[in-house]
Symmetry: D3
Subunit: 136 residues, 6 copies
């Protein structure tokens, strides 16, 4: 039962034109011939599918940060939130972009420390130092 | 009231030897002459203070990931958890290590997307694709 | 292993009087002849079982909000927290109260956006506008 | 200090053309003459500003769910995550769309119960009942 | 603005009979002559007020766990969730029940570690050992 | 797939000297002859393994709080965060230290209430009472 999709996956063959257009763009952008299940379930709402894909494509593209750094951040958030699918899929993406085992382990060490110190702070409530105040 | 420390801050002058040794190492490592409030409240438990500082120093040092990337990950986790002090302090640290406004904005765009798609996944439960399974 | 209950499920036949009274009320209220596993594991603490059921019955009843809206809110929280059992069970309840696939998809689109903008806000800390301040 | 924006707010007068176009659309869509601080800080990244506004406009519009229900869901997620700005701003939006005090209280009663039972489930791990499994 | 109540506080003098009955029971049970603000805002929904107080009174009473242990657990959850009011109020309650500074610091050390290792686990997904499986 | 480790488990036989030293200390401290999977996956980063074990050993030892209380807090945090492995493993540890079924149920009742009232507070924002302010 665990992991059974709430709605059936929409395969390319069953998909309408709007959905196929997004699937085609995903495969072209990623230079692959398959679509992962996340998109196949989002396809029940073609507008949501399109908006999410367009945003991901824009957000994860090279910019002020490089694509691997962005994947590392994605893993950090997914591990903090406990999203299993997201952890597996973005770890795979990060590896495809060159992440090594040593980088994964160091990333998780930082994620662990951040989650720890976040709670030490929440429980002790030190006031924000003036040196940390943003300048305006 | 908001932001009032649960326990009084322990200033250098009031601190015992164990705590002063950590404070000294913080200032030497960071090449500054002040201690931020997080450490001053942790100092109520010198063992916790020392262990936390030793871990942070080790985890945030250059390694398989560079120190700026690590600060970005720290901000990502702190913003996901809603830890205010942590967000201000690690944004300041990241700026000190060269983070630009454009990098901060792009970082938060990724953090936002990750938090969004984590919940689309949690609500729809697509099964993990075999292509994402770790090899053993 | 995954999904193995921490404590054995307490079936009707094995249950004491207090627990049976709650089970009977659940089946009568819901007009069904079965009890779902959540209650069967809570039954190890009959007071907790009774209090939780009484609260759920009161909270989920029609009032200022209709029962379907309440189920949608339940799914929204469960998806945000990543509670798998809760997502499956409340999605089933919402469907039984008339939720369509289109409503589920739109609900999750809102949940996704809310989780995204919550983190943009946490990372950028815009001050609360005076226009949003509650009147007293 | 608390609530000090990480980056200065970008007022209409200082804004570039891209940002002004979004600000104009926000005011026209909402039929108001002011912009709330969330958008003024997102404006440091005009692409993020535009994408977020376009998504919010699309997601919060009437559809399979009505706009008030969507605002209630937004409050539910924001209260679950503890996002203060989001709670104040979406409570104000929900009130503008007709939310009564009684509805707010009932909403939070559901949010509270959902957060409670999510953790009873996480701590006791009842297996998902076959009756809750999605049909395919 | 921060900390401004979403709904006005309902003082004893303004309260209806149902609310006064709960306020009276709170003061009698706690042997005090004041009501804290949490209850004064819940009072907008007398049924929610009564149910929450009855549950708290039952759950926090001595039983298989002593009242101080229960307050420590309350702080642990509140610090993990980042609930500021809850952290201040339950720290005050715990102190009233005898919590020392050393106990608070040790508690938060455990809370910190648990939040850290939770994320190391979420990011690395070790399978559950058979030795940890519940017996049935 | 669910539960498949992101990195292979490192068994004693395959482990290097640094890792074996930690494994030996875990078995000696716990008076057992096996290592649970959490450590076997952390072993990919010997420094992280050693630091985490040293911290856990120090934090979970008897001090101002007894070891069983600390395990209860660990379960409380793990159930709040929804960490499955952590819930199973620390429930097993707590049982080994004497936790009864009645204590587990009462613990989860407190955890549930805390998660509920945390969100009532987050949604209603009562100001912190002066009586709860820490003295300095």
């Amino acid at each position: 039962m665990s992991g059974k999709s709430l709605l059936p996956l929409i395969e390319y063959e069953m998909a309408g034109e709007e959905v196929r257009a997004v699937y085609d763009d995903i495969m072209a952008t990623r230079n692959t011939d398959w679509i992962n299940n996340f998109w196949k379930v989002l396809a029940h709402d073609p507008a949501l599918l399109k908006r999410t894909w367009d945003s991901i494509k824009q957000v994860m593209a090279p910019g002020a940060l490089d694509p691997l750094t962005k994947e590392l951040v994605y893993i950090a958030v997914s591990a903090s939130n406990g999203c299993e699918y997201c952890t597996y899929s973005h770890t795979a993406s990060a590896r495809a972009k060159g992440m090594t085992d040593a980088q994964l382990m160091e990333l998780l060490a930082v994620v662990g420390m951040a989650n720890e110190t976040n709670r030490l702070v929440n429980g002790l409530k030190p006031p924000v130092d003036v040196q940390f105040e943003p300048h305006e």
